[in-house]
């Protein structure tokens, strides 16, 4: 029973991280209608950058981390302007393939620069574990849950009250109308990529601190797909809920598997079965808007 509870807590924490990544994925999709297959590589790049600053330059975390964020901001903008902007108006397959190509390039480049083995982050928190309701939980997990909730709340505020957030929502709703209201659609596209890259980097660093940094991080980018399909591609709240569900689901699948089935590997694969099942029943996800097409 303790195991089950432990897994449930783990699931919620990992799920919250999935939710954050899914949210930044949906952000790009909503703003520019691009499905970003390189989302996982954003985590990877963010985590490696931070790791590099912390180990090679011996910077303290509170300096290295903001530098990482600034780097990711610039990185996101440059990526959008250089690679994705020429793709506007191209068919979906081209856009998807460009992001897939990017993900391959980044992944190989990261392996090239930092090697294939997982490298641990330097110690950041004084005590490695905390006592929460009688459960030993890693400090990083608690902090990461806090960070996730903070990011989600931040997103909520940003899109509801800030000028920029409202402009982005307007762009997502209708680009022409937004443009006629004096919003620069180009800037909004670039902004959405920048924010998405930054938020992903936060998630990447968090996971990196827990598990060490390795190319396995980019698998988060794949796990995002079940989450966003559960939530619907264009719903930010859906993405968060989808992320939580996927996080809990894979831990539950792992529990069921280890207790009774003994098939192995259910942790990785269960979300994909659920994904296929959902798509068969509800082709636009659970919270996604159904396309109505007029001829």
């Amino acid at each position: 029973m303790t195991l089950l509870f432990q897994l449930l807590v783990n699931g919620l924490i990992v799920g919250a991280l999935y939710g954050v990544v899914a949210m930044s994925f949906v952000l790009i999709y909503k703003a520019s209608r691009i499905v970003n297959f390189a989302q996982g590589e954003f985590l990877l790049i963010g985590a490696w950058t931070c790791w590099w600053l912390l180990t090679s330059w011996q910077l303290p975390f509170w300096i290295g981390f903001p530098i990482t964020l600034v780097f990711m901001l610039i990185f996101g903008v440059v990526l959008q302007v250089v690679v994705l902007r020429p793709m506007i108006g191209e068919p979906i397959i081209s856009v998807i393939m460009v992001t897939i190509g990017l993900s391959i390039v980044f992944q190989a480049a990261m392996k090239w620069m930092f090697g294939v083995f997982a490298k641990p982050f330097p110690q950041i928190f004084a005590s490695p574990t905390l006592d929460v309701f009688g459960l030993q939980v890693q400090t990083v997990y608690v902090v990461s849950l806090g960070i996730s909730i903070l990011i989600m709340a931040g997103f909520g505020w940003f899109f509801k009250y800030s000028r920029l957030g409202l402009a982005m929502r307007a762009t997502a709703f209708d680009q022409q109308v937004a443009q006629s209201l004096g919003i620069s659609v180009r800037q909004m596209f670039a902004m959405s990529w920048a924010i998405s890259a930054m938020v992903s980097a936060v998630a990447g660093v968090t996971v990196g601190v827990v598990n060490g940094v390795s190319s396995a991080l980019s698998f988060f980018g794949i796990k995002v797909f079940p989450a966003v399909i559960l939530g619907g591609l264009d719903s930010i709240i859906g993405a968060v809920i989808g992320g939580l569900i996927v996080g809990v689901l894979e831990n539950m699948a792992h529990y069921v598997d280890s207790q009774w089935l003994n098939w192995g590997n259910m942790y990785e694969i269960a979300p994909f079965y659920v994904l296929i099942a959902i798509l068969m029943v509800k082709p636009y996800g659970l919270f996604g808007t159904k396309d109505i097409e007029r001829v």
Binding site: I92, S94, I100, A108, E268, P283
Partner: protein, 357 residues
């Protein structure tokens, strides 16, 4: 107009028959036949290594053609093609090892089995399009990959499985020189089938679904049927390609059929040209020869400052991986219609040479 040797400059087609011929002129047909004859002579003078590359182009080209029918002609996106390729490989080996089906029957049967699997995963495709479909096929990729690792009875689990060489009437095609002909025959047959498919009613329906699916539906084309069918055909081609691969290497391991391999397939058809049959072959050749090119390039700079700075010797694997992604991106940005389009432009240039304006 039926039997001209070069295309006249005013090119007016007066019947559907002339518009849908496989070869527009006698010359182009003769060249195609000449090409096949030249290939037939290849084992006589080529060394092992180049033959093995040609064989690779052959079986990968068959599978890539399947993907092009799905992506290029029907406009459906699939990121799980290598899983079907792998399924074909295992299915053929399994049919032969477990049930004693002779290999030359097992290869087409493996294609049929793979079609079945393709249809199962194609079922959501009937209702999905674009992004949602891409993600569904991504799930198919991971589910099948997991299945390969799990199903000991089918794939031999982590040990992999042995595939007997192809034998007809006691004659074993177990060397590169011999197997080359098997792949060549299979490739010619599959490519002619593919070309002819696109000339039929069904093939035109697939193209109509791609170009404007609402109009297609209004014209009475059954969307569900053709989308699913296209998935099935693509899986069939992948299965045949995979089976040929299995009996060439005579061993199939579960690790090879990853998402990177799927992306390579997509790369082949994008480089070659979406919706172009000859382009598929060009793209496959490009993708297979790319590592060779890089090898040659790295040899060229070995010992120089670039070599030591990048530490090429140890990192060539990553460079290769990177080049796949980079080539895809560069082609999409600079030549979105692929090599086939470039080839057409070259032909058009020479058609009116030297008075091209």
């Amino acid at each position: 107009m039926a039997n001209v040797s070069i295309i006249p400059s005013g090119d007016f087609k007066t019947s559907y028959g002339t518009d849908t011929t496989i070869f527009p002129t006698v010359t182009s047909r003769n060249f195609a036949i000449l090409g096949v004859v030249l290939l037939l002579a290849c084992p006589a003078f080529m060394d092992r290594y180049w033959l093995s590359l040609l064989i690779q182009i052959g079986y990968l080209g068959i599978a890539a053609l399947g993907l092009n029918i799905l992506v290029g002609f029907t406009g459906q996106i699939s990121i799980g093609h290598s899983a079907f390729f792998g399924f074909g490989a295992f299915a053929s080996a399994w049919l032969n090892n477990r049930w004693g089906v002779p290999v030359f029957l097992a290869i087409p049967l493996a294609g049929v089995l793979t079609t079945g699997v393709g249809l199962i995963f194609g079922m959501p495709a009937a209702r999905l399009k674009g992004l949602y479909l891409a993600i569904a096929t991504l799930a198919a990729q991971y589910i099948l990959q997991d299945f390969f690792a799990r199903a000991d009875w089918f794939t031999g689990g982590t040990n992999g499985t042995i595939a007997e060489p192809l034998t007809i009437f006691g004659f074993a095609f177990d060397t590169d020189e011999r197997y080359f002909y098997v792949v060549l025959v299979a490739m010619v047959v599959m490519y002619i089938l593919g070309t002819n498919l696109m000339r039929t009613r069904d093939g035109r329906a697939l193209v109509a679904v791609r170009d404007h699916y609402l109009s297609a539906e209004i014209m009475g084309i059954n969307l569900t049927k053709y989308r699913t069918m296209s998935f099935g055909i693509s899986a069939f081609y992948a299965g045949i390609g995979g089976a040929l691969y299995a009996h060439y290497l005579q061993f199939v391991s579960v690790e090879g059929f990853t998402i990177v391999f799927s992306i390579q397939f997509l790369g082949m058809i994008i480089i070659g040209g979406l919706g172009s049959i000859m382009g598929t072959l060009m793209g496959t050749a490009f993708m297979v020869l790319l590592p060779e090119l890089m090898q040659a390039a790295s040899k060229l700079v070995s010992g120089t400052a670039i070599d030591t700075a990048l530490n090429l010797k140890d990192n060539i694997a990553f460079l290769r991986e990177m080049s796949v992604g980079l080539v895809i991106i560069l082609f999409l940005v600079f030549e979105p219609d692929g090599l086939a389009h470039r080839w057409k432009q070259i032909k058009a240039y020479w058609k009116l040479y030297p008075f091209s304006h």
